[in-house]
Amino acid sequence: MMRNILILTFNDLAIAFRNKTFLLILFVPLFVFVSLNLLDESGAEASKVRIVLVQHYAYAPAIIQSIMAAKQHIEVTCVQNEQDGVRLLKERQIDGILTPHDEATGSLALLVLKKDSIAAITIMQNFSALQKAAEGNAPDWISSIKSLHRGDVQRETLPTWVLMLVLLIGFIILPMQVAEEKEKKLLLALLQTPIHELQWLIAKVILGMVLIFIAVLFLHLLGSFGPLHLFDYSIFILAGSFCFSACGIFLGFLCRNQASARTLGVIFYLPHLLPAAMSDVSLKLTAVAPFLPSYQLYKPLQSILLEDGQLASMSFDWLYLIGLGLLMFYLSYLLMKRRWLM
């Protein structure tokens, strides 16, 4: 059995090389790398900001009064301790946590996800206006900004690019390769040999996982991005590549030819990519994104790469990815047994 899987996997890799799929695999990380170096910082726009105050901290009464009076611009939530606030911040339920500044008495420290995010800029704008209205040109209330995310702006966007690579291979390349084998009756030719349907499916999943690993590795090598927790990161790339490879194979089985596979792939690709990748800058997308499988990969990747997150606290996410992958694998097997659209 292993021998046949290896033969099929090497054959699939050789096809991927011959039909220029590898060029695409190398091109996309290169494109990402160039894009990262050309990245502009986004401007800020005014909106209501959501702030957390910690109950047992001693805030300056004048500041608290001003914040409470500005309900139209600032939504305040009180939590028992700072850890609860950090949790809410990670879950994108709030925009920032205000704590008394340790060194400058009477001023505040602001903890946000990203220092250069729209939310952080909006908080600073609101507090600046509030302070001028209350005290004129007194020293800044917020004298320090801390970021939950580690790394620079390039690293900030890394989870989005990794997600893009995984989805590109899962939703575009694999469905097209499966559909091509169906369209040219190559799959039926292979099934005239002693190989079992499962062997062919496993070889295809391995192909998808290998392509994803190569693409992600190449991206990391180009940008010299080292993950904070290599093992945890690898587990999620493994789970994500399995899940979306299985999804891609299933999509391929729903199509009669490459053209329809490409179309179906894009239809799945964009809705999976955009809400997850844009969930940080849009409240609506933040609400929608958790319903997409791609978010169960994006969120842990972001946590591991930027927030020092660890595998132990993300059991649901990787179990979800593995479970969905197994379901898609099984559905593909059923379609294959029925010679669906072959």
């Binding site: 096809i15 039909n19 009756k185 039926l188 005239q192 040999t193 002693p194 079992h196 010679r339």
Partner: protein
Amino acid sequence: MQLEILNLARFYDQQRGLAPTSFTVSKGEMIAIVGHNGAGKSTLLKVLANWINPDAGIAMFDGIDLKNRAALVGKVGFIPEVPNLFDVFSVEYNLRLFAALTHTPFLRVEEILDDFNLLAFRKNRIQTLSKGLQQRVNIGRALLSDPSLLLLDEPTSGLDFEMTKEIHRLLKTMHEAGKTILFTSHRPEEIKSLATRIMVLHQSRLIFDGPGEAYFRSEIHENLYA
């Protein structure tokens, strides 16, 4: 009987597919399946090759149900009308890939290349070959595991005179080697020169089954090609 078919049927819609069909085939027969486009010829071969599942009926080969793919691997070879090869790879790669998957010694690949006059093209990519050469590779691949039943769907469709003659020579050689062959064709001269028995499908139904002489004397032949 080597092949026993009982009420085998596959339905696409009311006009197309294969109505319940029964017949038997003895070892070494060379049967031409004749009929208009959409009569059910290719469907019959695809069902026998396990490419599509039948909706009803039984097909047994040497006492083994044709649905039992694993048991029949290597015993039945199907050559579709359009060659289904990995066209970005060479002739040799394609044959070696399928030899590896069918656990056939690579020596057999050399024999096939020699028998089918493909030695000069062994390094050529399939996509650079003519349809006739591709069809030769396709037939060669089907013969790698030395199957005793060969199913060919319009093997000479779209080929020029020389290539058609070459395919006819190969079919005769395989028939002389004792293989049972079922092929579909639209060419009366091909049917006459090759087939020991003729089956006619019309609107998904088997309407004639007999020797070539009887077929060419019958009204069915006249009506079919009138």
